[in-house]
Structures are given as C-alpha cells and as structure tokens.
Symmetry: C2
Subunit: 162 residues, 2 copies
Amino acid sequence: MKIGELARLTGTNVETIRYYERDGLLPIPARSDGNYRIYGDAHVQRLSFIRRCRSLDMTLEEIRVLQHFKESPQENCADVNRLLDLHIGHVAQRMQELQELEMQLKDLRERCGETRDAAHCGILEGLSQAIVPSGKTASHVQGTHWHAANPNSAKGIQGNQV
Amino acid sequence: MKIGELARLTGTNVETIRYYERDGLLPIPARSDGNYRIYGDAHVQRLSFIRRCRSLDMTLEEIRVLQHFKESPQENCADVNRLLDLHIGHVAQRMQELQELEMQLKDLRERCGETRDAAHCGILEGLSQAIVPSGKTASHVQGTHWHAANPNSAKGIQGNQV
DNA sequence: TAGAAACCCTTGAGTAGCTACAGAGTCAAG
DNA sequence: CTTGACTCTGTAGCTACTCAAGGGTTTCTA
Ligand SMILES: [Zn+2]
Ligand SMILES: [Zn+2]
Ligand SMILES: [Zn+2]
Ligand SMILES: [Zn+2]
C-alpha cells in the first residue's frame, strides 16, 4: 500500500509518517518504480504501536525503548515495566503541578467579583504583586497549552476510522 | 540598571529578557554609550508581571492581552475575568486528560505483574492492540514531558532572591 | 597604564513533535 | 491528452525559550 492508505488505516497524518521515518521510528520502506513508498502489514502494526504510545503521551524516546524490546523478545521485560512506572510518574507529577496552579488561579479569580475598570481590577493587581518563591521540585513536564501547530494530537488520536 | 541586574531582581535568564524584547512583551529600553540596555523600575515591574503570569502557565499571547489592560486602565475589565476563566479552563481540561491517561496507563501496567521475557510481556502486548477510538474533545493543552531545553520553567520561577 | 575578569552585544541554531507549503513528478480515469 | 488525485523532496514554521560563537565594553587590580 502507499502512504495515503497507511495514513488512513492508522489515523495518522501523511507528513507525520514521513517524519517518523526521518526520525528512525519507522523503518525505511521499499519504493515503487515511481519512487512511492510501499508499505505492508508490518508497517501498519508498527505505526499503530507508535500511535498508541503517543496517545498515552509517551515521548518518541520512550517509544524507541519499547520498540527495542519488541524487537528482542528474549530479553527480560523488567525495563519495560520500569519505563511505564516512570511514565506514570511523569503524568502524576504534572497533575499535581496543575492542581496547584488551579488553586492559585482560582484564588486570583476571586479577587475580581463584578467587573469594573481595569485600573482597579483585583486580578491585574494580584498579578502585579511580587513572585512568591515556591519551592517547586525540578520536573520535566510541559505546560498547559496546545496550539494550532499540533491539532492532531490535541484532538486525540482516532485510529481505524478507515 | 543593566540587563544582568534586571535578571537577578526578577529571577529571569538574561537571554529570556532579550527574547521578550524581540517578542514585543518588554518595551525597547534606552541604550548606554557602550550600547548596553538600560532599565528602570518600570521594567522591573513589567517583567515581574510577565514572570508571574508565566509561573501560572499563561501563554505569551494571554499575557499580551493582560498587558493591554494594564495600559488602558479606563477600560472595563470584563475581558480580564474572561481570559482568566478561559485559562482556568485550560488547566482543568488538561488535568482531566491526564487523569484519563493515568487510568489507561495503570490498566496497562497491571498486565505485567512479574517480569518475564519481552515476547510475553502483557504491556507490550497491550500496546500492540488497535487504537481505541476515544471521543476526545478538541483542546489546546500540551503533553506530559518537560525536557532539558527549559529547566528554568521546569524548576518553577523563584523571583526576588536578590 | 596594561591586562584580565566580568559583563554585554548580535546572530544563528537547537529543543519536541509535528504541520504546512512550494514546486515538482507519477498515475489512473475519461 | 488532459484533469485531478496522489506522491515526492526540501524548507520553514509553531512555543518559549536556551546556548554558543565571536566579538565589544566596563571595571577592577597590579
Ligand atoms: Zn514519560
Ligand atoms: Zn477585574
Ligand atoms: Zn491558558
Ligand atoms: Zn512485562
């Protein structure tokens, strides 16, 4: 099959497939006479695996590690479990951070009950106060926004919609 | 004061200050004879405001809107409240998504109690299954990882540590 | 007054994970 | 033979920064 069908089968953007190939996540496929990429069932499996991992918010690096284990089935899978535990930790930590954020934001929101002129808005006032040195622990989790640049991931992955 | 002191006072990286200037968030400062940027108290205030907003995970766009209101104090602040409500929504939505993720990940984790060879690992098996079409709503929130590229934000902002 | 350290400047590239476009080539149907 | 759908490569863009190269400036000390 050609790239378009692979894209349809897995619910992946065509450009994303080429990106994974460049990035070494997908093996380099055979080419047709006209230089088109030709894929088979193995590619569908592999790409589905990647997309499933991405839908669980794993990084491409994390996915690379998991792929390694799929390719060496005789190895002990302890590291797979470890990777998953770590990743669950990433998610949990980000949730904690967001919970704290939510509290701070709701506090701030309460400072302006009914609207008035911006000069006396309690929110703007609150934001102007000095930064409270919070003893946040180092983490590697990301922010709160998802921008137009990546609508596919934002919408969530809906595979298999043929 | 020069850029280094502004950086110290606000707990901001020097490069970040120059970046804000390029991006139009900080007004272009005066220059000394030797072409050094010269800042005053107003810049400290303005930068503190930005960093406080960033510590609440607002985007630079959101901050730009808030700055607009600080500069036009006669306007009604209803839009400030609206922006904050929207942003609280951003945080809440991401938390929901992460909660769902956590559940799925813990489900997956249970599939491999004791470690065995990768060929029979329940986790790898689970990840190989077809993607479940989940009816996720469109959102703009980001992922779960924070990488070395941005250690400052990751650590949280600790301003005023002179 | 020379020299060194500490600061500052601009420019350009890199980060994750894509997306989007330009400009070209390929292929099947009508 | 043309139209249109598809594909190709290469490049640039998105967020919010961070870092490094290769210079210039200031300040302090010997
Ligand atoms: Zn992770
Ligand atoms: Zn208000
Ligand atoms: Zn927001
Ligand atoms: Zn296992």
